[in-house]
Each structure stands twice: as C-alpha cells, then as structure tokens.
Amino acid sequence: MQFSDQLEKRFAELQTHYPIKRSALVPMLLYAQDEVGHVSDEVVHEIAARLDLTDLEVRNVVSYYSMLHTKPIGKYNIQVCTNISCMLRGAEKVFDHIRQRLGIGHKQDTPDGLFHLEEVECIGACCWAPAMQVNYTYHENLTTEKVDEVLESLRKKETQ
C-alpha cells in the first residue's frame, strides 16, 4: 500500500525521531486515517508491516485511541463536547440541535456520507464553551444559530 508522497515523507521524517520504530505507530495511524478516511484493515496491515509488528499489535493500539475509526465515517466529523464546562453553557442544547438538523444521533452518519456526529469528551475549549470540532477545526462559543451557519457553510462547500 502506498500513501501520498506528502504522507510518505512525513512517515520517513517520523522515523528519524525515535530509537525504536514502533514509536511512530500512533502518529502514523492518525495521519493515515486523515488521508484514507479511516484505519482500514489494509492500513493496519501496511503499518504493521512497516513497523515489524503483527496486525494484532496494531489493532490493540488502534482500538485504544478514541480518535481512530476502523469503519468509514462521514466526511465532516462533528464532535460536540458536552463535558462539564460545555454542559454548563448549553452544550446539550447544541448537540440536540445538530441531532435534529442532521437527523442522526451519536456516532451516526448522514445518508449522503457528508456528516458524522459524535458527542465527545473535553476538547480543551472550556473557556470558550460550548465548543465543537469539525474534523480538526474548532468552533467555539456556540449557539444554535452559529451551528446552523457552520453546517450551512460545509454544505455549501460541498455543492460548489
């Protein structure tokens, strides 16, 4: 399996950081997921081979980290924090609102494959709560109106 040149370069660079190959595992999985969309069996197998690990060892690690998905998910992963600081400032309302807007629940995808919704634990935006991440982009001080804007702009981006 071949990744993009850019990612291959990144992987090669990673290996220069550590005294043991295996140390690159977690970043490699995350970066490969960013490119492939999820940590597929093929990705597991490829990374295992590159790091002299068994597929089992890689799967043990993949299943531990909550950002890694082994199944394909919607293109835009909407991760709404509902932890204490966000909860106190109305995160549940935000989450409910998105749920209704997209017609999907926690860890579900819209039928068009555009959105994936997830209720996540603290994302480090406590002082700008409530907050969510769409893929890696932070959206903070959310209101239902602001959420609508974000969803709309993402939809627009897709139709263009």
Partner: protein, 452 residues
C-alpha cells in the same frame, strides 16, 4: 483560535507573550527569547536545579509535585539515554491553558524542554500533544523546525558543544495518556496503560532510560525562572507555592477565560475576575482543579487558590481548571456527566476503575432519569469510596473524589430525584420520564452493544 482575556489583577509571566506574535521566532527573540537557554548553558546542571527548586515551581499538570525535586531524582550517570518529555496531552475537563501556551508561545515550551535537558544531562526531548490539538501540532512543528534552523536545537546548540534533539509527537484521543507513565507507553507506540511504579520515570522511564516529564505550563515557566531567578518567581506566590498560574475560569460566569493570577489568589475574587455568575444566577459550587477534584460548595469558596490551602479544604488545586457552577445546575446530572467521562476514558487495566466507573455511570444514568432507588445513593458513595486509593493509577481517585464529594455535599439533590420524581432542574416538558427500570432499553444503554 481561542480568544484572549485580560484583567488588572493578572500577573503575566507565562502568558506575557500571549497575543504578541511570538510564534514567529524573530519576534520571540525580540521578546527575550532563548536568552534563558543561553544562560542555562553557562550555569551548569546543579545551578539550574537549585534555581528551579528555589522558585517553588510545582507541577502544573495536577499533582503539584515540586519540579526541581523531580529533576534532582534523575541519576547523574546512566548507561541508557535520558529523556525530557513535555506533557501536552491536556485533557482534564475544564483545562485549556496549555493550548494557549502552544498557540501563542511555542518557543517557551521548547526552551523549557532544553533547559530541563541541560539540568539532567539529557539530549533528547519530546513534546507530546493530544491528537485533537492538530493545529497546535503544526505550530509546534514549525517552531521546532525554526529552532533547528537557527541552531537552537540539534548538534552544538548555541555553539555550546551541547547537543539537544527535540521532536513533536501526537496522541490520538485518550485522557489516560496524560498520566506520565501511560504517556511513555503511548510514545513507545503502545496502548496508553500506566506502568507499575516503582521504578519511577526519573529512574526508568521512556525506552527504559531516566526521564523527566513535566506539564507544558511547568516547562514554559522555566525560562522565566532562569532569567528572573528562583527567588523572584517564588515571591509571586505563596510559601511553597511559587509563581503564578494560568487559571481556566469556565462554566457559569460572564467572562470565562484563561487568566494568569498569582498562586494563592482568592477563589471568590477569581469568580469576580471572570465577570461573576452569569444570568443573574447564584453560585452553587466550584470544582477548583478540573473534573478530578472534590467540589467546593458556595460557602467554601473563600479560600486562597494554592496547592496546600485547597488540600486543607479537602479539595485539590489540580490542573488550574476552575469550573464554576450556578444554582440552575442539577448536581446529580453533574455527577453523571463527570462519571460518563471517566467511564469513557478509563483504560480498563484494573478491576476497580474499569468496573467501578461503568457501574457508577449506569447507576447515575438510571438515577438521573428517574429510576433511582434509595439504596442507590449509599451505593454510589460505597463504590466510589472503594475505588479510592485502590486503583492501579490515580485515575480511579480522580473518578471517585468528585463523586464522593457530590454525594456528601449535595445529598439532598439526590434525595430529590427519588421515587420517580422528575429532575427538578430539567425542562419537564421535554424530558422523557422513565418509570424505574421497565423502560430501560438495554440495547442502547449497553456499552458493549454500542461498540459494535
């Protein structure tokens, strides 16, 4: 990009370059950047450690262990390479301070890592950031690359003959990796399961070598201590609690934000710094150190915010997250949300934590949605008390302590949920009321079913 706030009571040390464009290395240099590293190179290891000891700098990650002492535990001679780790896996609910440091002052962290390296004679540092902080990884990677380009990292830094390598590492979503030995496991490409201690990381850490691991904020303070002197830094705070601290004031306040205040700043005043309780509400409780510490009731908030004072008050200063809770909040629901977090993030290694958090979460879900029975209240406390101090790592304590305090201090709120009564704080029209167990849907509530 997170918004910055300010307040006249702030004493800016670690946040002094926030908003000053210090991500640019030239700008950073103009703001006294890398002067501390150069000074440290001339000081020698013992002098650095003594300076840090004198500063009374205590770990900003949560445990509050004196940083200088931690460094002094690293053996001088070691057949294996020594390492310096920056713990930037900031995940404690309520905490968002390291994020600002990485975003606004990345080089100060690099400096802290290098100086710690010089202090323990290590030549390799790693800066571990949580996976969600992708944009910060880019900032940090650029900062590291810039430092390499200037010869501040790599072989013969600043022409001193001292070599120091540094790399940035990403996590992939796991609170437990914030525990120091679990972080080392993760950095070695493994599941984030903590290690048996002893041996402690200072003796056997990353790759089996002696390792210094400090929180990002702790390390970012180090250059300032080197330049300003330990005594100066110590004088900013209270005895044994040196310096200032980034307090993340969040929750039911008008002006939430990250404020740098001296150690020992009064908690009530802190709420005022954050603009007071919002929506004309009243203060009900504060969790003064992130989700892992016992809550304080409104009556208990007239207290200086330092490690020792809070310990005396039965709570902890923790990670500097101050979660302010107003009187419209259901404390049962708060307990549930906290436990939901711990159930989700438990690594599952040991029995009491894995089973205890799952059991408590199940109970609290049922309890809050109207299915509680009287013995649940005692049982919640029983389970939490039996996790406390008996788990493999402090995670179990972190789950147990807030729970115990919530049941103890807000027992009446638990009582108010009994006998099928609806939650007094919910919008009753919207909540589907569940009669005890009958409507309980195992298929959706069973975590194992959800996983597949």
């Amino acid at each position: 990009m997170a918004d910055l706030v300010s307040h006249p009571d702030e004493v800016r040390v670690v946040s002094k370059r926030f908003g000053e464009g210090a991500t640019d290395i030239d700008r950073y240099l103009a703001l006294d950047g890398y002067k501390a590293t150069q000074k440290a190179l001339t000081m020698g290891a013992d002098a650095i450690i003594n300076e840090v000891k004198a500063s009374n700098l205590r770990g900003r990650g949560g445990a509050g262990f004196p940083a200088g002492m931690k460094w002094s535990f690293v053996p001088k001679q070691s057949p294996k390479p020594k390492y310096v780790l920056c713990n930037g896996d900031e995940s404690e609910p309520g905490t968002c301070k390291d994020r600002l440091i990485f975003e606004h002052d990345p080089h100060s962290v690099i400096e802290g890592v290098i100086i710690a390296g010089i202090a323990v004679d290590s030549h390799q540092g790693y800066i571990y950031l949580r996976g969600e902080y992708r944009y910060l990884i880019e900032i940090m990677e650029k900062a590291v690359a810039d430092a390499y380009a200037r010869g501040f990292l790599g072989k013969n830094i600043f022409g001193s003959g001292y070599d120091f390598e540094c790399a940035v590492q990403t996590g992939a979503g796991a609170y437990e990796v914030g525990e120091e030995s679990a972080l080392m496991e993760s950095l070695e490409g493994k599941r984030g399961i903590p290690r048996i201690r002893p041996p402690f990381p200072a003796v056997v850490g990353l790759y089996g070598g002696p390792t210094v691991i400090n929180n990002a904020e702790t390390l970012a303070n180090v250059p300032h201590i080197i330049l300003g002197g330990g005594e100066w830094y110590a004088s900013l705070g209270t005895p044994k609690n040196g310096g200032t601290r980034l307090f993340c004031l969040s929750g039911s306040v008008n002006k939430p934000g990250v404020y740098e205040l001296p150690m020992g700043y009064n908690l009530r005043k802190m709420i005022e710094v954050a603009g007071g309780i919002w929506n004309g509400r009243k203060l009900k409780a504060v969790q003064p150190g992130g989700s892992s510490v016992p809550v304080l009731t409104a009556d208990e908030t007239d207290i200086p915010m330092d490690f020792d004072a809070l310990m005396k008050a039965g709570s902890m200063l923790g990670s500097g997250a101050v979660v302010i809770i107003d009187d419209s909040t259901c404390m049962v629901k708060y307990a549930l949300r906290v436990m939901k977090f711990y159930q989700h993030e438990s690594c599952g290694w040991c029995i009491p934590c894995r089973e205890g958090t799952d059991w408590l979460k199940k109970t609290l879900i049922r309890f809050h949605s109207g299915g509680g029975v009287r013995r649940d209240i005692d049982n919640i406390q029983y389970l939490a008390e039996n996790m406390l101090g008996r788990t493999f790592c402090p995670f179990g304590d972190a789950a147990a302590m807030p729970t115990i305090s919530l049941v103890k201090k807000f027992r009446q709120e638990f009582e108010d949920h009994l006998e099928g009564k609806p939650c007094p704080y919910e919008d009753h029209g919207k909540i589907e009321h569940l009669p005890v167990l009958t409507a309980w849907d195992h298929r959706t509530a069973d975590p194992w079913a959800q996983a597949h």
